[in-house]
Symmetry: C2
Subunit: 465 residues, 2 copies
Amino acid sequence: MRQDVIDSLVSEATAFMGSRITTNVTVRDQHSHGEGSFPPGQPDAVAFAETTEEVSKLVALAHARALPVIAFGTGTSLEGHVNAVQGGLTIDLSRMDRILEVNPDDMDCRIEAGVVRSKLNEYLRDQGLFMPIDPGADASIGGMCATRASGTNAVRYGTIRDNVLGLTVVMADGRVIKTGGRVRKSSTGYDLTRLFIGSEGTLGIITEIQLRLHGIPEAISSATCQFTDMASAVQTVIEVMQAGIPIARIELLDEVQMEACIAYSKLTGFEVLPALFFEFHGTQAGVREQAELAESIARDNGGRAFAWATDTEARNKLWKARHDAYWACRAMRPTYGALITDTIVPVSKLAEAVLGVKEDVAESGLLAPMVGHVGDGNFHTVILVPPEPDGLARAWALDRKIVARGLALGGSCSGEHGVGGGKRGFLVTEHGEETIEVMRMVKAALDPSGILNPGKLLPDRVGTN
Amino acid sequence: MRQDVIDSLVSEATAFMGSRITTNVTVRDQHSHGEGSFPPGQPDAVAFAETTEEVSKLVALAHARALPVIAFGTGTSLEGHVNAVQGGLTIDLSRMDRILEVNPDDMDCRIEAGVVRSKLNEYLRDQGLFMPIDPGADASIGGMCATRASGTNAVRYGTIRDNVLGLTVVMADGRVIKTGGRVRKSSTGYDLTRLFIGSEGTLGIITEIQLRLHGIPEAISSATCQFTDMASAVQTVIEVMQAGIPIARIELLDEVQMEACIAYSKLTGFEVLPALFFEFHGTQAGVREQAELAESIARDNGGRAFAWATDTEARNKLWKARHDAYWACRAMRPTYGALITDTIVPVSKLAEAVLGVKEDVAESGLLAPMVGHVGDGNFHTVILVPPEPDGLARAWALDRKIVARGLALGGSCSGEHGVGGGKRGFLVTEHGEETIEVMRMVKAALDPSGILNPGKLLPDRVGTN
């Protein structure tokens, strides 16, 4: 019965997609998961869309059959966003990778949802522009919008939410709408752009993005500073933020993470102690001034020698080490798995949160290096999962404890990885039942048959499954 | 019949509001309009709420009777937002003016919706913090959220949208929800905060706001520069933005506006020529560097002597003149009325828009000084309305022409004043019928009986009234 429905959809779609829609098992397997530790969910079919019109037609076909539709970008989600937990049709947008328009005078561009970060920034470099949001993975911009991604630069440039001017979205019935526009601000109508950003494919499928861009700064410099304890490092972060230093990145790595990075990235001149990595953007004079101010704050907090990385090569090595932090963790225990936690607290609670988490980790007996975008109060632990029968369960228990600790301190259960399937259980605690009910009202209004990425983001009502 | 319904609501509300709910005609008149040129709309009753719980109870009473509910802050709206065009209950929030909490470490605060801008900034000054959004009027922060306000500082600090972390909102049936939180970023759930910001009281009534604050800059300096023609001034703006100068304000006044300001604010050293007013925020060295760069760009574009206003007194005089620009316009023709247009275009279209608007004004035979937050592409004309039978009609015709010109250049029909009753007719042109239909779906989901500020923001469907 269900198979008949799938077959009829595939048959109709083949008329305009040709072999770009498939029920091949290997392709379905590839699309059954992201990079998180969740059970895979295989879609019944996968379509490789090349235009908004194709996405619209595909969604209309699924809508007519009440079949689930899941949007898929690069598959780098960590929270099970793309797992087709109820089967259905996965629409892979990776071939929608055209850069449609760049307007240097307005510092904006229009791109298709499948464009990945590195490709966009390579394309823009000659024009002196860049898109600052950097979630680590070379994610698609559409996926970044859908999950409200951010990363190391958010402390200065905001999250993807702050850098999108407008969207093209395919609605649950296949209708296509445009939200926002090209202007820098507007006060006309409901902010549908922001409603779709972070909606994780549950309200519509984003196919095009009007993005705000930034000028490549005239000067960039980096520095590192180590501390004998985490509390002093965190206090430095708080004071740097309060001083209004427009810092571009400020990353905290605990001593375990530093041990991993020193070994993996062959970093020299570092000790196995907590470290802050700084990056400053601005004019030559501005960058110098920012860095001197940060250095004096660090010194007042007991920071050891501020180490400068002014030339491009040293800077790249440093940030490559930061980017590779995850792989450095994995290399500590090559036979282990890994579970990445994501939590965020108000900056004033950061020391309490971080020190508490280190206690949680110690109690668990697990190895879990910590790294964070601490200018925002956002931090991650990479829980290394022992290859033992209860390994994953122990890792999940620690993850849950860490997230609950963040929530208890007035935080959020996800700073940037999203809800997906993984964080649904925390949403009522974080937002309250009444607020979640309003989210459900919005969902019911825009996707009344519930075909868009079912089983994600919104928790089930109590008493239902 | 209707009067019976009103009477029963007033009677029930009196039980918990006492004399703070009234049907007094003077009070109803005071609440029948903002500062725009729209026919007043008198509510049937006015309640002065003091707590979220009272707002909740009042909305529930109105909901049970399907009576319109209009939120009222300071009444400084320019687009007819507060006019009770279908009667009903107006809830005046001006007594909800408590500053509930300030967290200097996190640079945020929680306030009631009726707190006005000046009061908040006075309160924060001793802590070295400020709330940068400055729409000109001493508006309530709740009203600023409801209309997605911005103003002269938006080019650096964003609009109110970018500075709100969370809200308390009373829904159409009286339920109270909290959106967002205290963290700087989060990727958990639909962005209800942004959905209510700019919803103009049509989706819910905002009663509390968690606001992001900024450190008062170490150094502030201002400068002015005049140009022989508007195109050179606009080109200067474009180049300043492209250079990535983090300018705090950049305001363009045309020669007519300068004539008005010179006379009204007794400005010395200015000619009747277009002018740019600049403000720079940062460290001492940073501000100097920014200003020198701006000066060299202005000079390359034929700007005349850059005049500095470094001391506080000179700076205050300058920005007071800018703030008083509206009154300066009115003083040019004391017997005339005034209609303020609001439009915004991509910065690359600014010269074309501004020069076109000056032609429109010339053709109309009306006097209409122009002033704008041009770093965003946003500008206003103050159309002086002759005290003649067709004066207002002529002014409206010019206003419509200017807005249509902005839209034709890829702009928005309102950069910051909102839609209210005044701009509804442009919404389909700007966003498209399909997108407006999605907004209607959201409205129907959250306010199914349509009691929240009816007749505002969303245009009626074609064929209905």
